[in-house]
C-alpha cells in the first residue's frame, strides 16, 4: 500500500485546476475580511457622532454597513457556486478514474468485493470528498481569515487586548475541539441504539405473517419499546454531552465578552481608547462565535474526508494479477488456437485440486469446436483461460501462433468475443444492452446486425422496440433471450475468435430456434468454441472435445468420433439427441458435489 498522505493526494487532484482554485481562495479571503468591517463601522459611527459629524457622513457609514451586509451575501453565493462546481468537476474525474481502475482489476478482486461495496467506495467515499471541498474548505478558509483578521484589528487598536484575545482564542479552540471529540463517541452509541431499534422493526415487518398467525404482535410491540427505551437513554446521554458542550462554549464566550467590557472600562477611564473603539472591540468578541463554531462543527467532515481519501488511495493501489505489458500483434483474419500443456489450479486453500491438468488443444483457424463435460470438469476455467481472465499455472495459450500473454489486452478483447451462460443484462434499454452503452454505434448498424441474425422482428416485437427498457438484472427477458442479446452484442463487434457458453436451462422452442439460427450465422468464417449442453448444438460443429476432471479425454472431428467404437461421444449420441448432455455424461458413476 502506498504511503501517500490523503491531503497530498487531494492537492494532486486540485492541481490541474489550480487557477480556478486560486481565484476561489482569493475571493474567500475577501469574504472572510468582510465581517470585520461591521464593528469597525459602528465604532466609527459612535465616535463620529460624538465628534459632531454631519448627517451625511453618518448616513454614509450606515449605508456602507448595509452595502457590506448585502455584499457578503452575494459573495457567499458566488463562492458556493464556484467551489461546488470545482469540487464536483474534480471528484467526477476521480470517479471516472476509479471506475476505470476497478473495471480492470482481476476476477479475484471482484469475487472478494461486492458491487455494492464498490459503489460505496467509488461514489460514497468520493462524495464525502466533494462535500468536503465544496463546504468545509469554503467555510474553514473564510472562518480562519475572519478570526485572524479580528485579532489583527484588535491588536492594531490596542496590542494588549489583541494579545489577550489571541491567547483566549487558542484556549477556546482547544477546549471546543477536545469536547467535540468526546461528543462523537456518544453520537456513535446513540446511532447504534437507533440502528438496533430500526433493525428490530424491519425484522418484525419481515416476519409479520409469523407474528400475526401466532398472536405475536403485542410481543413485537413490547420488545420494540424496550429497544426504544435504550434509544431514549442513549439520546439523553448524548444530549448531556451536547448541553455541556453548549454551556461551556457559551460560558467561554460570555466570560470573554465580560472581561473585554471590564478592560474597556479601565482603558476608557484612562482615556487610552475612544468609546467607539471600546464598543468595536466588544462587538468583535461577539462575532467570534460564528467562525469558531464553523471551524469546530466541521472537524467531523475533515475526518470523513480523510477517511474517504485514504480508502480511495487504497483502492487505487490495488493491482490486477493479470499483467498487461505485452506488445505483440495478432495476425489478421480468423485465429488458430493452440493450448500447450496448460494446467490451472485456483490457489484457494479450500480447493487445491488442479482444475485443468496438462491440456493440449489444437484448433485450425475457422474451425468450430464443441466442448462437452460435466459440471466441474473444467469447462468454465478453460473459457476463462481463453479470455485471459486467469493465467495458466503452467503451459501457454496461443492465438494465431502468438502467446496471448504477450498481446495487449485491448487488442485481445477486440479480436475475441464471448457469450456467457448467464448473460449479464443491464437495467437499461435494449439498445444500450446491445451496444454496451456505446453511443457511437448507430441504430442503423444495430438494425443491420439484428437483421443478419434474423432477430429484427423479435426486437421490433417488443413494446418500444430498441427503446424497451429492461428491469433490474434484465428482468423481462428469459435466459434464452438474454443469449440472443449477447449474440448480437458479439456480432456487432465482429471478433475473429468466439466463445459460446450455451445456456443450460430450458429454453422455449421459439427462442431456441432463434438461438440456433443466430449461432450458425455468427460462427461463419470464425474460429469458434462452443461449450455445449445440448447434443443438437454440437452435432453441427466441426470438432468435438470431451473434458473430464480437468483432462481432455476425447478430441476429434465429428465424423471420427461418431464412428469410433467405444468413444464417449458415440455413446452419448446413442442415448438420444434430446438428452441433456450434462446428465448423460454422469455415467462413470460419480456423484461428487459440484465445486462452487
Amino acid at each position: 500500500m502506498g504511503q501517500t498522505s490523503p491531503w497530498r493526494a487531494l492537492f494532486g487532484l486540485l492541481a490541474p485546476h489550480r487557477v480556478r482554485a486560486g481565484v476561489i481562495s482569493a475571493v474567500l479571503t475577501v469574504a472572510g475580511v468582510l465581517p470585520l468591517l461591521g464593528p469597525l463601522l459602528i465604532g466609527r459611527f459612535i465616535d463620529d457622532a460624538d465628534a459632531g459629524a454631519t448627517s451625511a457622513e453618518l448616513l454614509f457609514i450606515a449605508g456602507l454597513y448595509v452595502a457590506v451586509g448585502l455584499g457578503r451575501q452575494l459573495m457567499s453565493v458566488a463562492v458556493a457556486w464556484s467551489a461546488a462546481d470545482l469540487a464536483w468537476t474534480v471528484t467526477n474525474e476521480l470517479r471516472s478514474d476509479l471506475t476505470r481502475h476497478v473495471l480492470a482489476l482481476d476476477l479475484g478482486f471482484h469475487r472478494r468485493t461486492s458491487p455494492g461495496e464498490l459503489v460505496s467506495r467509488v461514489d460514497g467515499d468520493v462524495t464525502a470528498l466533494s462535500e468536503f471541498i465544496a463546504s468545509f474548505v469554503v467555510k474553514a478558509v473564510s472562518a480562519a481569515v475572519t478570526l485572524v483578521g479580528i485579532v489583527a484589528v484588535v491588536t492594531w487598536q490596542d496590542w494588549r487586548i489583541g494579545l489577550g484575545l489571541g491567547v483566549y482564542l487558542a484556549a477556546a479552540i482547544g477546549t471546543l475541539y477536545v469536547m467535540r471529540n468526546q461528543a462523537v463517541d456518544e453520537a456513535a452509541s446513540e446511532q447504534a441504539a437507533n440502528g438496533r431499534m430500526l433493525g428490530e422493526i424491519e425484522e418484525r415487518l419481515t416476519g409479520a405473517d409469523d407474528l400475526r398467525g401466532n398472536g405475536g404482535g403485542s410481543h413485537a410491540v413490547a420488545t420494540f419499546q424496550r429497544a426504544s427505551a435504550a434509544v431514549l437513554r442513549s439520546t439523553l446521554q448524548r444530549e448531556k454531552q451536547g448541553v455541556t458542550l453548549w454551556v461551556v462554549s457559551n460560558a467561554v464566550f460570555v466570560t470573554g465578552g465580560l472581561i473585554v467590557l471590564a478592560v474597556d472600562a479601565a482603558l476608557l477611564r484612562r482615556g487610552t481608547i475612544t468609546l467607539g473603539a471600546a464598543y468595536m472591540i466588544f462587538q468583535y468578541t461577539q462575532i467570534l462565535r460564528e467562525p469558531l463554531g464553523q471551524l469546530s462543527d466541521e472537524t467531523e467532515a475533515v475526518q470523513r474526508a480523510a477517511g474517504g481519501m485514504s480508502r480511495t488511495i487504497e483502492l487505487m493501489a490495488e493491482e490486477s494479477s493479470i499483467v498487461n505489458t505485452g506488445e505483440a500483434t495478432l495476425p489478421s483474419g480468423p485465429l488458430a488456437l493452440h493450448l500447450d500443456h496448460v494446467s490451472f489450479s485456483y490457489d484457494d486453500e479450500d480447493n487445491p485440486i488442479p482444475v485443468l491438468d496438462d491440456v493440449d488443444i489444437d484448433l485450425a483457424a475457422g474451425t468450430t469446436l464443441g466442448v462437452l463435460g460435466r459440471t466441474g470438469s473444467g469447462k468454465t476455467t478453460l473459457a476463462r483461460l481463453l479470455l485471459r481472465l486467469v493465467e495458466p499455472t503452467a503451459g501457454s495459450v496461443a492465438f494465431g501462433g502468438v502467446d496471448i500473454s504477450s498481446v495487449p489486452m485491448r487488442d485481445l478483447r477486440a479480436r475475441t468475443g464471448v457469450v456467457s451462460q448467464d448473460v449479464h443484462l443491464f437495467a437499461a434499454s435494449i439498445r444500450d444492452n446491445l451496444v454496451l452503452f456505446d453511443d457511437s454505434i448507430s441504430d442503423e448498424r444495430v438494425r443491420v446486425a439484428l437483421g443478419e441474425l434474423e432477430l429484427l422482428d423479435w426486437v421490433e416485437g417488443m413494446p418500444d422496440g430498441l427503446d424497451t427498457v429492461l428491469g433490474p438484472a434484465g428482468s423481462g427477458l428469459s435466459a434464452g433471450e438474454g443469449q440472443l442479446i449477447a449474440l448480437t452484442r458479439l456480432f456487432l463487434r465482429e471478433p475473429d475468435l468466439v466463445l459460446l457458453d450455451e445456456a443450460s436451462s430450458r429454453v422455449d422452442p421459439v427462442t431456441e430456434a432463434r438461438v440456433t439460427r443466430a449461432v450458425d450465422r455468427l460462427v461463419q468464417g470464425r474460429t469458434a468454441i462452443v461449450i455445449a449442453h445440448r447434443l443438437s448444438t454440437v452435432e453441427r460443429l466441426d470438432e468435438i472435445l470431451i473434458l473430464d476432471s480437468g483432462r481432455v479425454v476425447e478430441h476429434g472431428t465429428q465424423e471420427s468420433l461418431r464412428t469410433s467404437d467405444g468413444s464417449r461421444y458415440a455413446a452419448l449420441l446413442a442415448v438420444g439427441s434430446d438428452h441433456e448432455v450434462d446428465a448423460a455424461l454422469l455415467e462413470p458413476a460419480q456423484t461428487e458435489s459440484e465445486t462452487p
Binding site: 457556486w81 416476519g207 420488545t223 471590564a262
Partner: protein, 561 residues
C-alpha cells in the same frame, strides 16, 4: 393533500401525548428565548455607564447571573424536549408496528411495500412529523422574543422599530420563495445521485460484460453523462442552500445597517446614547433569525403533511388517526415495561366448516375458488397439489392472513367474523413454509412473550432438545439476525415449536418438506398425532404424511379435486 391529514390537529395530538412534559417544554423554552431581551437591556445600561465613565462592575455581575440562568433553563428544557421527542416518535412507531403485526381487529393493516422501504416511514417520516410539532416550540419562543424586542426598541425610537420590520418581512418572503426551489433542487439531486449509484452498480455487476467486449470506455462515457448531470444538480442544491443560509445571516447586518440609518436624526439631536445603539445591535442580531424560524415552521408543515400521508400507508386504510392514538409507551426508567397482551380464551374445536371459500389474487389469477370442507375436531388433514394450486392460500385464508373474497369459516357452528383475530393461539397457530425467526433468544422466538409456559415438552416434541444440548447457552442462545445462526432444519423446528407451544386447537402447517428430511418429518407427524389435542391441516407432498392422514385433499387450480 389527503383531507384526513390535519397538520395542526396532529401536532396538537403529538404535543399532548406527554402533556405535562410538553407544557414544561413550552414554559422553559419560551423563557429561554426571552432571556436575551434582559441581557441586551443590561448591556445597554453598561454602555450608558461607560459613556458616563461610571462603574460597570455590578452590571457585569448581573449579566453573568442572567446568562447563567439561561444556561440552566436551556439544560432543563433540553431534558424535557428529548423525553417528549422520543416518546412522540415511539408512539407513532408503536402504532405503525402494531397495525402491521396485529392479528385482526379494526386497526390491523397489511404492508404495502417492502420492509426496507417501510423503514423510512419509521425513521424519516416519523422524525419529520415530530419536527413539525417541535418547530412550534422554537417558533413560539422566537416570535415572543421578536414582539418583545420590537416593543422595547419602540420605546427608544419608534422609527427604528418600524424600519426593522422591513427587512424581516422581505427576508421571510424571499426565504419562502427560495425554500420550495431548494426542495425541488434537492430531490432532483437525490435522483441524479441515485442514477449515478445504480449505473455504477450495474457497471460493477456487469464488469465482465464490459471488459470482455472491450467497451469499458463506452461505459465510462455514459457514467460521465450521469456524473456531469449530478454535478449540475449538486451545485444548484448547494447554491440555493447557501443563498437561504446566507440571507438569514446577512439579515442581521441589513437590520443593523437600516437601524443606524433610521437612528441618524436621533443621534444628531443627541437623543440617542451608545447604550441604545448597543441594544439595537444586540436585538437586531437575534431578530435576524426570525425569518429562518418562521420559514422553518412553514416548510416543516409541508414536509409533515407528506410524512403523515406516507405513514398513513402503514396503518389501516382510512384510519390515519390511529397513528396518534395515545397507547402506552413505556420507555422511561420509572415505567413498568410493556408486556404482551393476554391470549384470548380457548374454545375447544369440535368441527370446523369452510363454506365456499374464495380468495383470488388479482395480479396472477391464482388462489382458491369455492372451497367447501367440513373438518372433524382432532383430525389430521393433509393438503397436496402442484405448485400454484392454492394450498398456501387455503391455509393463509383460514389463518386470517389473506382476505376472503367470499365464503365463511364456521367454528363449532358459529360464524367467525374477524378470522384473523380468532385464529390465534390457543385457538389456532400458523407455521409458514419459510418461517421467519427474529434476532432474540431461541426461547423468545418460540414463546413470543408467553414466558409463563414451560418449553421442555415442546422442545422434545420438535426434537430441538438434542440440538440445544450442543449449544452452550441452551434455549437462551441468540439465533442471530433472522435466525441465520441456525440451520434451515433447526429454524423450521424452532418455528414449529413456536406454533405448537400453546397446543392450539387448530394447527395450520404449510409445506415443511423443503426444510425437514424424511425422518424428521415423519417424527413430527407421529408425535403430533400422539399429542392428540390439535386439529391439523398440513400441506405436504410426502407419502408418509398421506399414510398418517385422516383425509388427503388434492387441490388443482384453486379447487378440490
Amino acid at each position: 393533500m389527503n383531507p384526513a391529514v390535519r397538520p395542526m390537529w396532529f401536532a396538537w395530538r403529538t404535543g399532548i401525548f406527554r402533556g405535562r412534559i410538553w407544557a414544561w417544554c413550552w414554559l422553559t423554552w419560551t423563557v429561554f428565548y426571552l432571556m436575551p431581551l434582559l441581557t441586551g437591556w443590561l448591556l445597554k445600561l453598561a454602555f450608558d455607564e461607560l459613556e458616563r465613565s461610571g462603574s460597570i462592575t455590578m452590571l457585569l455581575i448581573w449579566i453573568g447571573v442572567a446568562e447563567s440562568f439561561s444556561w440552566v433553563l436551556f439544560a432543563i428544557s433540553v431534558w424535557f424536549v428529548i423525553r417528549w421527542w422520543v416518546s412522540a416518535l415511539t408512539l407513532m412507531r408503536t402504532n405503525m408496528l402494531h397495525a402491521q403485526t396485529a392479528s385482526g381487529g379494526p386497526r390491523a393493516a397489511q404492508l404495502p411495500l417492502s420492509p426496507s422501504e417501510a423503514i423510512t416511514r419509521f425513521q424519516e417520516d416519523a422524525r419529520d412529523a415530530v419536527l413539525w410539532t417541535d418547530s412550534w416550540l422554537d417558533g413560539a419562543g422566537i416570535i415572543a422574543y421578536g414582539i418583545g424586542a420590537l416593543v422595547i426598541m419602540s420605546t427608544i425610537s419608534k422609527v427604528a422599530a418600524v424600519v426593522v420590520l422591513v427587512p424581516l418581512v422581505t427576508v421571510t418572503l424571499i426565504t419562502r420563495f427560495l425554500t420550495p426551489r431548494l426542495y425541488a433542487a434537492r430531490s432532483a439531486d437525490r435522483k441524479a445521485a441515485s442514477t449515478v449509484n445504480s449505473f455504477l452498480g450495474e457497471m460493477f455487476a456487469g464488469m465482465l460484460a464490459f471488459r470482455l467486449a472491450g467497451r469499458e470506455e463506452a461505459g465510462i462515457a455514459r457514467l460521465e453523462q450521469h456524473t456531469s448531470l449530478r454535478r449540475r444538480t449538486a451545485v444548484r442544491d448547494t447554491v440555493l442552500q447557501q443563498a437561504i443560509d446566507g440571507i438569514a445571516s446577512s439579515t442581521s447586518d441589513v437590520v443593523i445597517g437600516l437601524t443606524l440609518l433610521a437612528l441618524v436624526p436621533s443621534v444628531r439631536d443627541g437623543n440617542l446614547s451608545v447604550g441604545d445603539l448597543a441594544l439595537f445591535v444586540a436585538y437586531a442580531v437575534q431578530l435576524g433569525r426570525v425569518p429562518r424560524y418562521v420559514s422553518r415552521i412553514i416548510t416543516s408543515r409541508e414536509q409533515a403533511i407528506v410524512s403523515y400521508e406516507r405513514m398513513g400507508e402503514m396503518v389501516a386504510t382510512d384510519r390515519l388517526d390511529d397513528l396518534l392514538d395515545h397507547r402506552p409507551v413505556t420507555i422511561e426508567r420509572r415505567d413498568t415495561m410493556l408486556t404482551r397482551d393476554p391470549d384470548p380464551g380457548r374454545d375447544p374445536l369440535n368441527r370446523l366448516e369452510l363454506s365456499s371459500l374464495t380468495a383470488v389474487y388479482p395480479s396472477t389469477g391464482g388462489g382458491i375458488r369455492g372451497i367447501d370442507l367440513s373438518i372433524r375436531g382432532r383430525s389430521f388433514i393433509v393438503v397436496t397439489g402442484e405448485v400454484g394450486a392454492g394450498k398456501s392460500t387455503l391455509l393463509r385464508t383460514i389463518a386470517g392472513l389473506d382476505e376472503l373474497d367470499s365464503g365463511s369459516i364456521i367454528w363449532n357452528g358459529q360464524l367467525i367474523e374477524d378470522v384473523a383475530a380468532w385464529m390465534v393461539p390457543p385457538n389456532a397457530a400458523y407455521l409458514p413454509q419459510v418461517p421467519r425467526l427474529f434476532s432474540e433468544s431461541l426461547a423468545s422466538n418460540i414463546a413470543l412473550g408467553r414466558d409463563d409456559l414451560p418449553l421442555d415438552d415442546i422442545l422434545a416434541l420438535t426434537t430441538l432438545d438434542r440440538d440445544l444440548a450442543e449449544m452452550p447457552l441452551g434455549a437462551g442462545t441468540r439465533v442471530g439476525a433472522r435466525g441465520l445462526r441456525l440451520s434451515g432444519g433447526q429454524a423450521q423446528r424452532v418455528a414449529a415449536a413456536r406454533s405448537l407451544l400453546t397446543t392450539p386447537e387448530l394447527l395450520l402447517i404449510d409445506d415443511v418438506s423443503s426444510a425437514l428430511d424424511v425422518a424428521t418429518e415423519l417424527e413430527l407427524w407421529t408425535r403430533l398425532r400422539e399429542q392428540g389435542r390439535s386439529t391439523i391441516i398440513a400441506v405436504s407432498h410426502r407419502q408418509l404424511a398421506f399414510d398418517l392422514a385422516d383425509e388427503v385433499i388434492t387441490l388443482r387450480d384453486g379447487r378440490i379435486v
